[in-house]
């Protein structure tokens, strides 16, 4: 099983004045084509540093990152940028407030020369429809959109370059619970439809359980455990993983029963 993306002995050291901070320490793992790999860990565990290295924001201090077998250079080529895209945590910041939704979505098309110049507006409209937004949103400013709608635009932008791998950096943690569920559903649908690979960075283990195929657990820059979602939840090997799982708020049986009853009512109404 060869990876779409392979990290081999990757380390990242940041120098802050005299101090050296080892944010990521000798990490190796593969991201398999078509999977959703969750990267979990507390803040400061190095998961964002891993994401930034995958995206080519900065190169690893040691080790290599390979894409379909080719080692990626420190300065990314455009075709690799096109293939690996990002959805950020906060859509309020990730969309430029001074540019229209359409302009933000057009940028990847222009940069990578996708489609005919004259047909790019149509493409933008199709992208918006694909994420469940009306096409006339392209003329709006991000300020006129709700948090969930903004995040849908950010997802559309990540897909615009016909990417293969999308790094999802806490894509739902800034949204309220109901919107969160809908965005997760959209992500799952898009993955099926487009055959995408996800690297899903989160600290929310209930989200992980719903969407991830495999889970990588990070602590203090080290990869503590990597396995299928079922295996990690059923039989966590590492003490840190057990602590993470134990920290998830427990849902009581009464609440489960209540939820099932409410959902039935909902289904009946629909």
């Amino acid at each position: 099983m060869t990876g779409l993306l392979s990290l081999r002995n990757v380390s990242k050291v940041f120098t802050l004045g005299q101090r050296e901070i080892r944010a990521v320490d000798d990490v190796s793992f593969d991201v398999v084509e078509g999977e959703c790999l969750a990267i979990v860990g507390e803040s400061g565990s190095g998961k964002s540093t891993i994401a930034n290295m995958i995206l080519g924001i900065y190169p690893p201090s040691m080790g290599t990152i390979a894409w379909r077998g080719d080692v990626l250079p420190a300065r990314r080529e455009l075709r690799h940028r096109r293939a690996i895209q990002l959805v950020q945590q906060n859509p309020l910041s990730s969309l430029n407030p001074r540019r229209s939704v359409g302009a933000s979505l057009r940028l990847p098309l222009d940069v990578h020369g996708i489609g005919d110049r004259s047909h790019r507006a149509d493409r933008v409209a199709r992208l918006l429809e694909e994420v469940g937004l009306p096409a006339d949103f392209m003329n709006r400013s991000p300020a006129a959109l709700s948090g969930g709608q903004r995040q849908r635009v950010a997802i559309a932008r990540a897909l615009a370059s016909e990417s293969d791998l999308v790094v999802l950096d806490e894509p739902t943690s800034a949204l309220d619970v109901l919107v969160q569920a809908r965005v997760l559903k959209l992500l799952a649908d898009l993955r099926d439809k487009r055959g995408l690979t996800y690297v899903f960075i989160t600290h929310d283990l209930s989200v992980v359980r719903n969407i991830a195929d495999r889970v990588a657990v990070f602590e203090k820059g080290c990869l503590r455990e990597l396995g299928t979602t079922e295996a990690i939840f059923a039989n966590p090997q590492h003490a840190y993983t057990r602590r993470l799982i134990a920290a998830v708020p427990v849902v009581a049986d009464a609440e489960v029963a209540l939820r099932n009853r409410l959902m039935e009512n909902d289904d009946a109404a629909a």
Binding site: I57, L86, N96, V111, R157
Partner: protein
């Protein structure tokens, strides 16, 4: 637009600024039609009516060679505004570009550009302009050059600081991940977010440029006679205070109105564009 109208109506000072500047700009643009003696902007002498206090038809009185002060002030506004607009039209693009590049690129580029800026900022503005004017011929063009040289670094500082904070926003990361060029990220993503602050500062500065230019010509380093200039009119009249008070007071008030008006207008724009202080 609605918001702009609301802010203007709610704040009488903002409204005052708009009205003052509208009057100044209108007077300057249509000086040929409004001025009772348009020919008095040049080297005209009328000794029959020299040094007259304000009386019809000389609204603000006449100067020592019998020229109508009101007409000359209108034409002086024209020169002042032209100077302000030209200075900012040159200084702002230079200052803004340097600030954007220094703030975004960082590293040694930032170091070199910002140290050069600091050198210019460390010299008191009027001293820099005075020494330049001392070296060069005192003409209108050189006056603009001198004021421009002292003005761009302030825009570099402003935009540099804005860029450093905008750089941390997610939309800049998004553009980088997409693979957009540096030029795109700087000028199409970051710059639009700096525009409200730049426009506000430009409005405030129009008043200050007029003030500095007047100071230079007050010292005899700016626009040369017979071209009417508010600063040299104040300087010429100062010798005859307090008897011929109109020679100094009206040009002085004209400077005050322009500077004050642009300040109020700048504050109003800041409210309308929602710029953080």
């Amino acid at each position: 637009m609605k918001r702009a109208a609301y802010i203007l109506v709610r704040n009488p000072l903002s409204l005052t600024g708009v009205i003052l500047i509208a009057l100044v700009v209108f007077g300057a643009l249509f000086a040929d039609l409004i001025a009772p003696f348009p020919e008095h902007r040049g080297a005209v002498v009328d000794f029959a009516n020299f040094n007259k206090p304000p009386e019809w038809p000389y609204l603000f009185g006449t100067d020592l060679v019998g020229r109508d002060l009101f007409s000359r002030i209108l034409y002086a506004y024209r020169i002042s505004l032209l100077l302000g607009v030209v200075v900012l039209a040159i200084a702002v693009p230079i200052g803004v570009t340097i600030g954007l590049v220094a703030g975004y690129v960082g590293g040694w580029v930032e170091y070199v550009l910002m140290r050069i800026t600091d050198v210019f900022l460390s010299i008191p503005p009027l001293v820099l302009a005075m020494s330049m004017m001392g070296l060069l011929e005192p003409t209108l063009t050189n006056g603009m050059l001198a004021v421009t040289a002292m003005w761009w670094p302030w825009y570099t500082r402003l935009v540099y600081n804005l860029t450093r904070s905008e750089k941390e926003e997610g939309y800049v990361l998004a553009a980088e991940v997409i693979g957009a060029s540096r030029a795109h990220t700087i000028f199409r993503e970051i710059l639009p977010n700096c525009v409200p602050s730049i426009v506000t500062k430009m409005t405030l500065d129009l008043g200050f440029v007029i003030l500095i230019a007047s100071s230079l010509s007050f010292l005899g380093l700016g626009v040369q006679p017979p071209t009417p200039d508010l600063g040299s009119m104040v300087a010429d009249g100062a010798k005859y205070l307090p008897d011929s008070w109109w020679l100094t007071v009206f040009p002085g008030l004209a400077i005050l109105v322009a500077v004050f008006g642009f300040n109020l207008l700048g504050d109003a724009l800041r409210d309308i564009l929602g710029v953080d202080q």
